[in-house]
């Protein structure tokens, strides 16, 4: 089932509930893509990654984009695209001082985001879930849809600041261009971990994907994200296991395998050490 809503200001929302889908296109507008259950495989400019319910992806206008869903259970997705004037106006208002806004200079600049995966948490999650709920109820009010979309952008700019701008500041390179290049490569490393967390991936694999040496990756990853790639991977596996415990009826052994752990006992120990509760007690607490 696919639902497309195009607003008079050219903002667009596509909501889909499907087991199989394949899209290949040049993305004509700034788009944020969400997945509420299952996963969507994507390819942006020959880079592959996977959107899970704890992440969202941002795609700039004009990017070649390919996405695929192939799942036994239906996958719920939502894509919000922003009309050119809407996003330019927002970007201008957000990034200009009050004085220059009062001068009423013409808006020319369009933003260029780092196309990647970002954490789907906090206010962004609350607002998008509200929008999804309203759309499922048949919302037609353009003013309200635009309000949700405005807040979606507002939330994204805050996440972008936290995930990109603040991380750039943490890197110790003097030249801005070097910092930007290193962060881009670290982003590739993170994307690779997020999309292959269930595989037996090695540090060498991650470094190769990021076009960095292992030592360089270790040092800069820790600098930017205050955690090692291994710790990041473990935390991600544990968080996704939490999600599966909460939303599925898979057995513990199945979940252990699904999130890439080999040994149930080490998973249980790590889960308890991290969250102060055993996986089964956690599941029970969520059922209650």
């Amino acid at each position: 089932m696919r639902y497309v809503k195009e607003l008079s200001n050219r903002n667009k929302i596509i909501s889909e509930h499907t087991c199989e889908a394949l899209y290949e296109q040049q993305n004509d507008a700034y788009t944020i893509k969400f997945v509420f259950n299952g996963a969507e495989d994507c390819e942006i400019n020959k880079r592959r990654f996977c959107i899970y319910p704890d992440t969202f992806a941002v795609v700039n206008a004009g990017t070649n984009f390919c996405s695929k869903i192939d799942s036994i259970n239906p996958v719920n997705t939502l894509a919000v695209s922003f009309g050119e004037n809407f996003i330019k106006d927002f970007h201008h208002t957000f990034s200009s001082s009050n004085e220059s806004l009062l001068d009423g200079k013409e808006v020319k600049e369009a933003p260029a985001f780092i196309e990647s995966l970002y954490p789907f948490t906090g206010d962004m999650r609350f607002n998008v879930l509200h929008l999804k709920k309203q759309l499922d109820k048949g919302l037609k009010d353009e003013m309200l849809i635009n309000e949700y979309m405005y807040h979606c952008l507002l939330n994204y700019y805050k996440i972008y600041d936290r995930e990109v701008v603040q991380k750039l500041d943490r890197l110790s390179f003097i030249k801005t261009k070097t910092r930007e290049e290193v962060l881009k490569r670290l982003t590739l490393a993170k994307e690779y971990i997020c999309s292959n967390y269930d595989q037996n991936i090695t540090l060498e694999d991650i470094a190769e994907q990021a076009c960095l040496s292992v030592n360089h990756l270790l040092r800069t990853f820790k600098e930017a994200y205050e955690t090692s790639p291994y710790q990041f991977l473990m935390q991600l596996r544990l968080n996704r296991a939490k999600g599966l415990l909460q939303t599925t009826s898979y057995s513990l052994n199945e979940i252990v395998g699904l999130v890439g752990f080999e040994c149930p006992s080490s998973f249980i120990r790590l889960f308890k050490n991290t969250f102060n509760i055993t996986p089964l007690k956690y599941r029970k607490s969520k059922l209650n």
């Binding site: 948490t121 906090g122 609350f126 509200h130 309203q134 009010d141 309000e147 807040h151 909460q246």
Partner: protein, 121 residues
């Protein structure tokens, strides 16, 4: 009346106009009532958890700042704005969640608060 509901006493200039504002603009259920033996008042059922007593006279337990709980602040903001309610600012993010403020015609301040648990899994 819900026994666990919060109760606010609010002064308004004119009960009939206030009834129209709370019913038509805010879309709340109102009920004419008596506050004391001789004093008329209006009971407003604001959000299921909040009741407001409107009266024309001044009482010592009255307030002019009322917090209304919301499941979806943006929805309430758009709905009320389309009914002519004027907001002080656009919705803003607090550590407790999303909120937005407006006043009634008598200067009583209302805060719509959508509480959000950011630590929830």
């Amino acid at each position: 009346m819900n026994q666990s509901a919060k109760l606010f006493y609010v002064q308004v200039k004119q009960l009939n106009d206030a009834d129209a504002f709370y019913t038509n603009c805010l879309g709340m259920l109102t009920e004419k009532t008596m506050i004391a033996d001789q004093e008329k008042g209006i009971l407003v059922k604001a959000d299921g958890e909040t009741n407001i007593f409107l009266s024309e006279r001044k009482h010592h337990n009255q307030t002019n700042k009322i917090v209304l709980n919301s499941d979806d602040c943006l929805e309430d903001y758009c709905r009320l704005r389309s009914r002519g309610v004027i907001f002080k600012k656009t919705p803003s993010y607090l550590s407790e969640g999303l909120s937005v403020e407006f006043s009634d015609p008598y200067g009583n301040n209302f805060i719509i608060l959508e509480q959000r648990n950011y630590n929830e899994d």
